[in-house]
């Protein structure tokens, strides 16, 4: 909304990067997400990362689908073009945009619903084509924007706001990316800026498709243990949707821990996830080992974070296609049109 525009004042006291810009120059309009939403922490990390990388904001193309997570590109890099595709179809938009100009930085922001339900096919195929972009999944296990249904990443046994228990095995985007041929596979936690910022930077600089799955708690639709729900609880089974709209303000969850360590993090609903940061000597260049490593820790109930797999040699789409190095969209028309003599030549074939 228009009145949400942040005032742009100069902050002379803030540190400046090599371009002379402060982090404020990497911000966008005011977030309209719930107070404490993990997604906002990721936004902050993105701002930090682009600032640290000394990238001119307008050289970035921000792309997303539909969902709370997909709204976030409006909240950073105000000077960059952004595009909100339709739900689940950002990967194809990204592919086309990248095809048109291989020389910008491409950042895709998506949600678990957006990428693993409706968008799973496009996600898998963009990854397979190794589109040169950073693809972030802001993963909260639910559909935030449509009010808390399970997404395909919800864990078995997790409870929805309405009390329903998920019984289907989750799709883990990290395992999917690893086994579908991804060239850069990483996971982090929204509250761990220390880990998140470097992973974002690595992902942006990676020459190919960098998947970064970021666990990002939804403060609103994980609150089923909370008394709030009962506030709006009406007799028997009648709960008109509009009548239960109380959303408590909460603080974002923070977590900082060292390489190799494991760390239990309490979510807003009182449940706990155990994060395990890969150790310093973890070797992220072996796909099969990465899989068994993930699998092993998963069985122990741990979610592994860090850079889990990387292959710098896998060629990205343009390298495979052998495209010219200039942006296709900028090629002068004279280099594109074969001209009338060629037309004559071609037409001789049709006689």
């Amino acid at each position: 909304m228009s009145f949400m525009q942040k005032p742009r004042v100069s902050h002379s006291q803030l540190p400046r990067n090599e371009l002379g810009l402060t982090t404020r120059d990497y911000e966008g309009s005011m977030s309209t997400l719930c107070a404490g939403c993990g997604h906002d922490s990721i936004t902050a990390a993105l701002i930090q990362a682009f600032w640290e990388l000394n990238i001119e904001p307008y050289k970035v193309a921000k792309m997303s689908g539909i969902g709370c997570s997909s709204k976030t590109p409006a909240y950073f890099l105000a000077e960059a073009h952004g595009i909100n595709a339709v739900h689940g179809r950002m990967p194809s938009i990204a592919t086309g945009a990248n095809a048109a100009d291989r020389n910008l930085y491409y950042l895709g922001v998506s949600g678990d619903g957006d990428s693993l339900s409706i968008g799973f096919g496009q996600f898998a195929h963009a990854l397979r084509r190794n589109i040169n972009m950073l693809y972030i999944i802001e993963n909260n296990g639910v559909y935030g924007l449509t009010k808390g249904q399970f997404s395909a990443s919800a864990d078995v046994g997790s409870k929805a706001k309405k009390g329903e228990v998920n019984q289907q095995p989750p799709i883990d985007p990290v395992i999917a990316a690893l086994t579908l041929g991804g060239s850069f596979v990483a996971r982090s936690f929204s509250g761990d800026k220390g880990q998140l910022v470097p992973l974002i930077k690595a992902g942006i600089m990676h020459n190919g498709f960098a998947l970064l799955d970021v666990l990002s708690p939804c403060v609103t639709f994980n609150d089923h243990e909370d008394s709030t729900k009962s506030y709006a609880h009406t007799r028997q089974f009648y709960h008109p949707a509009v009548h239960a709209d109380f959303v408590p303000q909460k603080k974002p969850i923070r977590a900082a821990y060292d390489d190799g360590e494991s760390m239990p993090v309490e979510l807003h609903d009182g449940s706990t996830v155990v994060l395990r940061k890969v150790s310093k000597d973890y070797n992220p260049t072996n796909r099969a080992r990465a899989y068994s490593y993930l699998h092993e820790h998963q069985k122990r109930g741990e979610i592994v974070t860090g850079l889990l797999y990387i292959d710098e040699d896998q060629r990205e789409m343009h390298d495979i296609s052998n495209t010219v190095s200039a942006a296709l969209r900028d090629l002068p028309y004279a280099e594109l049109c074969p001209g009338s003599a060629a037309l004559e030549e071609i037409q001789n074939l049709y006689r």
């Binding site: 309209t32 709370c68 709204k71 449509t146 007799r235 709209d245 959303v247």
Partner: protein, 601 residues
């Protein structure tokens, strides 16, 4: 200002996620229980927390259910929209604000009365917990309104107690908050205001409920067993309600097992695919969705049309194109739904105008889908689907038997020489089908590719055309089966309105206003597509017709032009498409202007 008893509009401006919807619902229901006709419209943003939201309650002695365009008393709880809210109040009206904080003195008006109540201050003194403070502020303005409007406090208390029947300890706090507001208003204001409530008996035999809930209930009563969906505003609550009803009424008492199966699909392409798989296999199946979902379903809708598979789709329309405004209402999927999918396709549509019709049309939709072996789309909208409407209580005819259409039984198949899936043996364009797993004699191959009357694959022009022509005849058969229009007409009147769906309330009010101004106008509301004979006759009987609808491109008018014999010059459009539910004013002024210009006789 003269007293306006039971005839005014309360609008509450708030921030979403603060629990105001709950309080506002209580207010509306309390008025309803006082026997006074009332309607509420919730204008909420497409986000979860922190953006402006409004709730508009119209109290209408005469029972008008549309918006009126007025705001008689504004409860301005949102500083961000204060200026706008202040400006919105009709001259002579009231604005209630939280006087805990200083008001912007620049923003004021002489022609309305401002009422300051220190809501936050009072509540913060009484409640420690932050959550309670936020929530109770809303309950507190309820109390103030009760005093100002003469709301029956016993009704309000009773409602509160029912609401928190299983959370007894919340009751005291709520009552306290109400009392705070009530007492403050009593002591500091001139209560009640000239606009106020007086008990009536006009709501007996009525209920207050939204259309998605009743559409879901219709699905239960129709015997639907398979529901597949992908969440999308404003259709989500339809499947939520279906689930809740089923959990209560569809569990085998002995085994505890479910007599239904709901699948949350991975997207709308899958949702409609599941519905078609179930329909093909003989279950009554449905999916609720909205515009973007309908767009995604297109390929499968064409398949279902051509392969002749029953399916029920609820399109709870929201503002398009594309993602549009997900929390605003519109009627802009008409043309698209009528001819959805590539190739020569024509579909059967139903247009409910209120929640009660959502119930009845849900039932009708399944009957039609199975009778006609085709997808039937129920085009409701956000206004009907998500807002509570006052409608007459539903009655259920115990004699109802679902029309499962032309399906050969095991016995019939056994006795049959040969079964031809796509042959028109009854002359109505509808062929007999068979279900999988019933009898080998019924086997055939269902396909979206060219097939002949026996169901065999074909690329032959005549065989292909034979089936396609029958499909056209079948669609003509549908004309007599879809619900007839609702007509309000007087002999001799030559000007009419043709309208659709949720415009109804506004049109009815407009008719009364016009009649009071001496202009008699007849009215027909279409309820189904293809249009039945009554629509054609009404059009023939009138010299000039105003087509009232909620979209930019006059889509109902387009359908009338294409599918009736109406002459273009007869039709004048009245369009409203900003996303707020229509009110009578644009109709009245549209017609008056046209008549003044002599457009109609």
């Amino acid at each position: 200002m003269n007293a306006r008893i039971n005839d005014f509009v309360i609008k509450i401006a708030n921030v979403n996620g603060t629990g105001s919807a709950s309080a506002n619902g209580l207010l509306m229901k309390a008025i309803f229980r006082m026997g006074i006709p009332v309607v509420g419209k919730n204008f909420f943003p497409s986000n979860i927390q922190g953006l402006p939201t409004w709730f508009e309650i119209r109290v209408s002695r005469e029972g008008y259910l549309a918006r009126s365009g007025r705001v008689d008393i504004m409860v301005a709880m949102n500083a961000q929209t204060y200026a706008r809210d202040l400006a919105d109040v009709s001259p002579g009206g009231y604005l209630l604000y939280d006087s805990t904080w200083p008001r912007d003195k620049q923003l004021t008006r002489d022609d309305i009365t401002l009422i300051g109540i220190p809501l936050a201050q009072m509540v913060n003194q009484q409640f420690e917990n932050i959550r309670a403070r936020i929530l109770m502020k809303n309950v507190c303005y309820l109390g103030a309104l009760a005093a100002l409007l003469d709301l029956d406090m016993r009704v309000l208390e009773e409602l509160l107690k029912e609401t928190f029947a299983d959370k007894q300890k919340l009751i005291a706090g709520n009552l306290k908050a109400i009392e705070l507001g009530y007492q403050y208003a009593k002591q500091h204001c001139d209560c009640p205001l000239p606009l106020r409530l007086e008990p009536m008996h006009a709501t007996a035999g009525h209920i207050m409920v939204d259309g998605n809930t009743l559409a879901a209930l219709g699905c239960v009563y129709a015997g639907a067993t398979v529901g597949a969906w992908y969440p999308i505003t404003p259709s989500t609550s339809l499947m939520d309600a279906f689930k809740e009803f089923c959990e209560r009424y569809r569990v085998d008492p002995e085994t505890g097992k479910q007599r239904y199966c709901i699948v949350q699909a991975e997207d709308e392409l899958a949702a409609i695919g599941m519905v078609l798989g179930a329909g093909w296999n003989g279950a009554r199946a449905f999916t609720p969705t909205s515009g973007p979902g309908l767009s995604l379903m297109n390929e499968f809708i064409g398949f279902a049309y051509y392969a002749e598979i029953p399916a029920v789709i609820f399109d709870v329309q929201r503002v398009g194109p594309s993602t549009g405004m997900p929390t605003r209402t519109q009627q802009a999927d008409l043309l698209f739904a009528a001819y959805a999918s590539h190739g020569d396709t024509r579909h059967v549509l139903l247009f409910p105008a209120d929640p009660a019709e959502c119930f009845h049309m849900a039932v009708a939709a399944f009957d039609l889908a199975e009778r006609l072996q085709t997808p039937v789309m129920v085009l409701s909208d956000l206004d009907i689907g998500m807002n509570d409407w006052m409608v007459p209580k539903l009655r259920w005819d115990e004699g109802y038997v679902p029309d499962r259409g032309k399906v050969y039984s095991r016995e019939q198949l056994q006795d049959m020489q040969v079964f031809h899936r796509y042959t028109d043996s009854d002359g109505d364009g509808i062929a007999y089908r068979s279900l999988p797993g019933v009898h080998p004699g019924g086997a055939y191959f269902t396909r979206g590719s060219g097939h002949d009357r026996r169901g065999a694959y074909t690329e032959d022009a005549d065989e292909y055309q034979d089936v396609l022509d029958r499909l056209r005849r079948k669609h003509d058969t549908a004309k007599a089966l879809v619900p007839a229009p609702v007509v309000r007409s007087k002999k001799g009147v030559k000007t009419g309105i043709v309208s659709i769906g949720s415009c109804d309330a506004a049109v009815r009010e407009a008719l009364d206003i016009l009649a009071r101004g001496g202009t008699e106008v007849n009215y027909l509301r279409v309820r189904g597509f293809p249009f039945n004979r009554e629509v054609e006759e009404f059009i023939e009987r009138h010299e000039h017709l105003f087509v009232v609808e909620q979209n930019r491109d006059a889509q109902l008018k387009a359908l009338l032009l294409l599918e009736t014999k109406v002459e273009r010059r007869k039709l004048t459009s009245i369009l409203h498409y900003g996303g707020m539910p229509m009110d009578s004013r644009c109709i009245v002024s549209g017609i008056n202007e046209a008549l003044a210009k002599g457009a109609a006789a």
